[in-house]
Symmetry: C2
Subunit: 397 residues, 2 copies
């Protein structure tokens, strides 16, 4: 007996992100159906396919689940006061991270798990079916491992970010801390990480320090990512290319040379516009990067200091309005772009063999993510073939 199949039928507008399956842009199939078997997609075609169970999409739009390739979901403590002070005129500085480090170290593992679970559930309701999670609020071997172990409950894409900032106990001894990250911490974190990351920024780590951390991680078998060019121009973007990083994240400030280097590489530029919103920075010039051939992704950067949101819809709206991406470019960046930034071929698109991660919208088109800013248009979320979110009161159809 073969496993049970489910068809999502009567899809008015299906986004597949696969030009072998549908038409440009976005691999669109109209009046479509998608057949799932277990956790994967087995067929994509015209409406009316037969399966054991049928879900009716009501003629609305269905898209791939969002792939959020940059989050910091494991932390304790609140930084809303720092946020309010920033909105009243204080600049964002990397040092605020210490507040979260103190709270995270003090929290029990049960408490960290409870908080991260609530955030992962919130992200799921926001349509995020794949999530990357970084450590970086532990900043010693035991606490980084603790945070990575919590993150492992939610994703295989865990990232060791010991080089987030220099913890207070190493103040003035950054090179000593980098040595600790590259040796004792990395050794402890290794079994719980797929990726290694560093924050290349004034107030955090310089290019040589980041190179040391990522090179050590790579030698130990981890993939590389880098926080680059968030608060000003700097060496991060080109360093990410030099080290073969899967992703250079933020990229708010890019020179022509940075763009040329990114465009000639496999490194994805991951924009985090909710961060630029929440730190009142300028938005990155995505138009210029895309027109030059840079591969791009959009991610939430959910974290308590600079971007406490799980709303990929909000990121899409900002990407179109303030970064001058088309709606189609933004949607691709939040799905397939995120998958590329994680070097994942199984998610971010809708095709036979892909994981069955689908968002059923209470809207006829994905353009409503931007046309209707702030309105919750995600009606149902299917993750690995399971209906995990069901809203019974979508917006106006």
């Amino acid at each position: 007996m073969s496993p049970a199949t489910t068809v999502i039928d009567n899809i008015g507008l299906l986004v597949t992100n696969d030009l072998a399956v549908g038409e440009a842009p976005l691999g669109i199939v109209r009046d479509a159906s998608v057949v799932l078997e277990g956790s994967h997609i087995v067929a994509v075609g015209p409406a009316g396919a037969i399966a054991d169970t049928r879900i009716d999409a009501g003629g609305m739009c269905v898209i791939p689940g969002f792939v959020d390739s940059h989050t910091h979901l494991v932390f304790a403590g609140d930084r809303s006061d720092e946020f309010a002070a920033r909105m009243a005129g204080q600049p964002y500085q990397a040092g605020g991270i210490q507040t979260s480090v103190a709270a995270t170290r003090s929290a029990t593992t049960n408490e960290l798990t409870r908080l991260a679970t609530a955030r992962r559930d919130e992200a799921r309701r926001a349509g995020i079916t794949t999530v990357e999670i970084k450590s970086g609020y532990g900043l010693d071997a035991a606490n980084e491992v603790r945070c990575l172990q919590v993150a492992e409950h939610f994703t295989a894409d865990t990232t060791f970010l010991g080089a987030h900032v220099v913890p207070r106990e190493f103040e003035g001894r950054t090179d000593d801390y980098v040595h600790y990250v590259c040796n004792e911490m990395l050794l402890a974190a290794l079994a719980h990480s797929r990726w290694i990351d560093a924050f290349c920024e004034v107030g955090a780590f310089d290019a040589d320090q980041c190179r040391a951390v990522l090179t050590a991680g790579r030698a130990a078998g981890l993939g590389c990512r880098l926080h680059a060019n968030q608060l000003g121009h700097g060496p991060g973007a080109q360093l990410a290319v030099e080290l073969g990083c899967a992703s250079a994240d933020h990229c708010t400030y890019l020179t022509d040379a940075d763009i040329t280097a990114l465009a000639a590489s496999d490194t994805v530029a991951t924009f985090l516009p909710a961060t630029d919103f929440s730190t009142r920075q300028p938005y990155p010039d995505a138009r210029r990067a895309i027109d030059a051939g840079v591969k791009v992704a959009l991610a939430t950067n959910c974290n308590p200091g600079s971007s406490y949101t799980t709303s990929m819809s909000f990121c899409l709206a900002l990407a179109v309005r303030d970064m001058h991406m088309t709606v189609e470019e933004a949607l691709t960046a939040a799905t397939l772009g995120g998958a590329r930034a994680l070097r994942r071929g199984d998610v971010g698109h809708v095709a036979p063999g892909a994981r069955a991660d689908l968002l059923m919208l209470a809207a006829p088109s994905y353009s409503h993510f931007v046309y209707r800013p702030g309105v919750p248009i995600i009606d149902q979320v299917i993750e690995a073939g399971r209906l995990v979110v069901r809203s019974d009161h979508g917006p106006t159809k």
Copy 2:
């Protein structure tokens, strides 16, 4: 036997907007309870008040329901293509309204009612407990009346906006259309309207035409409001003051003289930042207006062309990030400010005698509307004493 009472108890942070009830700013009461009887509030005080029924706020924040003083909820048709074109570089022009006029005239009254009901429900889930609704997509006597009759199902604050744009059948004969608005249309609309409004803008109506419309409405007993200074500098804001309008709406472009006039008047400047977002205009300089003493409100301007959102939360985030209002100023503007713009004393605040419109947040502070952009933090909505929205999966608390 006295009517049943309900206490909302264990409120960690209560915003009352009433300095006779709580402390500055926002009339804050900590560890509070609110007692309701029927549709109204009968007591506000420390936690632990006794009533027939008890709702536990879980130590979270409770605020007054949002008062959305500017919407166009009654219409048919979709303008997402126009929106996408605009995001690709085309400017917003008042003329796009004609698309909605054609669709609205073609729709049955049942269809208009169904669509408006869905939008009103969506707005309620977004925390809007009081809503103003304008006509303006009928543009002839019969269709304007039809739209106002639909609007009357949802609010006493219905607004006759015959002077939205000149309909095609009057093209080139604006003064003839104004005469029609001031006479036959006004006579028909009168029984279904509390307010009269006009769109004072290049491409719509000039100052003399708007003055004629509002003066006729006022003589017939309607209150006055005006769409002013949306797309550029113009006479609207000062005309609104001259005519004693309750509100001058948009106010994206204000001169020093406009601000001086508004500050010396009872006319509220109603900012509509989701419109500036969706038309990619600059945001109004709310800081300058507030510092000069102008009374301000925030509203969604929910309409299919320039701002298709019911999300007051989104407006709050924009008001703080992009208009440089404090979180407290933005929250006041979206509640008490909206009530002032509608000259309503019964809503927008929490005090004995006020209508029982309350938002129970899944957050410890109202600052999370801005700190957590795009995240749905409204957990329960109480409107006129009834629990009308209940989320069983709020965000992280």
